[in-house]
Symmetry: C2
Subunit: 397 residues, 2 copies
């Protein structure tokens, strides 16, 4: 029997991600891959984790580490995060924090919390593919978030579907690597006010700044306007995936208490809680070495970004343009009009064994055919130089 006729309407919108299918093929020996947006495993604080898991499974903590725990998350980890958020400019306490299984899960729960079918979500064009996938399950309309439209225009195009939130990553966004400046952040807050919508700030790459001064999170700017987090409409999503380890699936959400309470209910119903032992281990590692570990990660990625940018200056032909990110993992390349990223990928794989992600998948409307995303996080400097040289060769051909 085929059970497809029984599936919910959302199932027809859930499609296999071409990128992920592609990545399975690409990460093979002999290929220089700038495709996957994944951290370099050599940078994981593996010894610190080994010690942390050993401690969690020692006689004092093992019963707690292996047992059910509360949906809100492990209190010491939430305490550490409240302090961490204060350090980046957000005043909050542990009741404003929910632990999630990666920030991807936060996006799923936020889609679940805000979106009924037909509601409008404003997203970048391009934006993080995983956000589109997470929200998509709740059957929204996607509308383009850009600097040129006021609330009136958004309301008009949203029609009956209310604008529930705008979503963006303000620091070194996936896929463009771009950062929203202070003025841009204030303008986003103005827009959310006028629309009376929520604002989801994805801080997945926030800690990975390689140069320039940090810009306060949007949530911090809104607090400066309003005084208390309880009056804020911004919801901040954080992640340990790019700093400590993605394989433990540890992220968090910071928001006003009514939003967190509702998300706790969603989480309780959806997976009870994130793994107890992983929360304990991440807490111990963060406490022991977050502040010393992050600069090491930054140094390695900064050097790789510089090598990639320099190689691009040297090898990219005229008519190719790209971003100069101040942090994160990605450089976004705009090819000459009419050139197609997926065709280029096929050619690059075939002739010089270089891989990257065609940019089209990051656009909700399937535009952006002449864009590609390059990741510099998981290749060493020599490989980056050689890969970009080869890519320039294909582009000039």
């Amino acid at each position: 029997m085929s059970q497809h006729p029984l599936f919910a309407t959302r199932a027809s919108r859930m499609k296999a991600s071409e990128i992920r299918e592609l990545l399975k093929l690409l990460d093979q020996p002999g290929i220089i891959s700038f495709a996957g947006g994944i951290p370099d495993p050599a940078l994981f604080p593996a010894d610190a984790f080994a010690q942390a898991f050993q401690q969690a499974l020692g006689p004092e903590l093992q019963a707690q580490a292996l047992q059910y725990s509360v949906s809100e998350g492990y209190v010491p980890l939430r305490q550490w995060l409240a302090q961490h958020m204060r350090e980046i400019g957000v005043a909050c306490d542990i009741d404003n924090i929910l632990i999630t299984s990666g920030s991807q899960q936060a996006l799923d729960y936020l889609g679940k919390l805000f979106l009924s079918p037909g509601d409008t979500a404003l997203v970048g064009w391009p934006t993080y593919l995983g956000a589109l996938a997470a929200f998509n399950a709740y059957e929204p309309r996607f509308d383009r978030l850009n600097g040129n439209q006021g609330a009136k225009e958004y309301k008009a195009t949203a029609g009956e579907g209310a604008v529930k939130f705008a979503y963006l990553s303000a620091d070194f966004a996936n896929p463009t690597g771009e950062t929203v400046d202070l003025q841009g952040r204030e303008a986003l807050l103005d827009l959310a006010e006028e629309l009376d919508s929520a604002l989801i700030e994805d801080g997945a790459y926030q800690a990975l700044r390689y140069d320039g001064d940090p810009i306060p999170p949007i949530l911090s700017l809104e607090q400066a306007r309003k005084g208390s987090i309880e009056d804020c409409r911004t919801i901040y999503c954080g992640s340990f995936s790019k700093t400590l380890s993605p394989g433990l699936r540890m992220g968090w959400v910071v928001a006003s208490k009514p939003v967190i309470s509702q998300m706790v209910l969603l989480k309780q119903a959806a997976d009870l809680h994130s793994a107890t032992i992983n929360q304990m281990a991440v807490h111990q590692v963060a406490q022991a070495c977050f502040d010393t570990h992050i600069p090491k990660v930054r140094n390695v990625y900064r050097a790789r970004r510089d090598v990639m940018l320099n190689a691009m200056e040297q090898h990219m032909p005229d008519g190719v343009d790209w971003t100069r990110p101040e942090g994160g993992m990605f450089i976004w390349v705009t090819l000459p009009e009419g050139m197609v990223g997926s065709d280029l990928l096929a050619r690059a794989l075939d002739t010089v064994k270089v891989a990257f992600v065609p940019g089209q998948a990051f656009f909700p409307d399937g535009s952006g055919a002449n864009t590609i995303r390059l990741s510099f996080s998981n290749s060493d400097e020599a490989t980056i130089r050689e890969g970009i040289r080869r890519l320039g060769e294909v582009l000039r051909a």
Copy 2:
């Protein structure tokens, strides 16, 4: 600002579980609690886990253990599960298996896969509270699954909302402790055929049988009818929470490939994958000691069940009735008509410091006021004897 007007329609259905709020108050020193349905942490194979995590974080595996991995789940764990499922009568291969973060997450994803607002889900009256919560987020109607109705009656009451699935736990169900016999399982399959609906079999307690012969899973019986799992409408959800550890959040789903493929997409969009290192650790522990560990767990719980049943024979007054489960963690008590479980709880806490869960919360329609659930899994034998003696005292008063 209050963001409540922005929330999706489903938010109005998500309520704080009275039981969970209650549990926070109940699990306090000085109270004998038969409330929480949680395993005894003394039975967790903590040393085996310590060894498994140490190995996963050793030089050979650490890069993999802490890195992103595929949404389907860790291949060696799925291989172990395919073999485990064959041992309990279900022939499947790893492409029929998805790893989830506990079986609770499987229920969430199954609700997401099948339910559009207004669709009908058939559930027991009473049924597992967590299943109601998981499905509820997708705004279904709940209709009562019982042995007395045929497909025609269900279709009639479902009206425009199609019956998408029936959900049940066939072995030692939470909250009743009851088991569906072979004939009952076959009748459920007949019903699902007639309704052309899916059938969700929650096997969370399946391994915890204390006496009597195992009954094949419903999925096994459907395979016997149809030959291949690919033709089956039954979806089996399993869990390591009651056998190895709930704190690692490890469960699995077994179904036909089209269902698994769709669930993989949902999982990819919702949390990417379950924690890599936990999958590796559970695989190693399951491989090393599942077959020797489970009999130990059974022996301890069997003895506690026997002590509780014996104490009830001795101390329960006339007019009180209860189930005699062949496995699992729960005994379900029916009080004399007119007596109210939540009133009894208040009195029992107040006068003799004994806690349990009032049964009403397990009924989608709020009936069942004169029922309570007792758990015997997490109290030692002397405590069970004393608690039931005190409960009898309150009931006779």
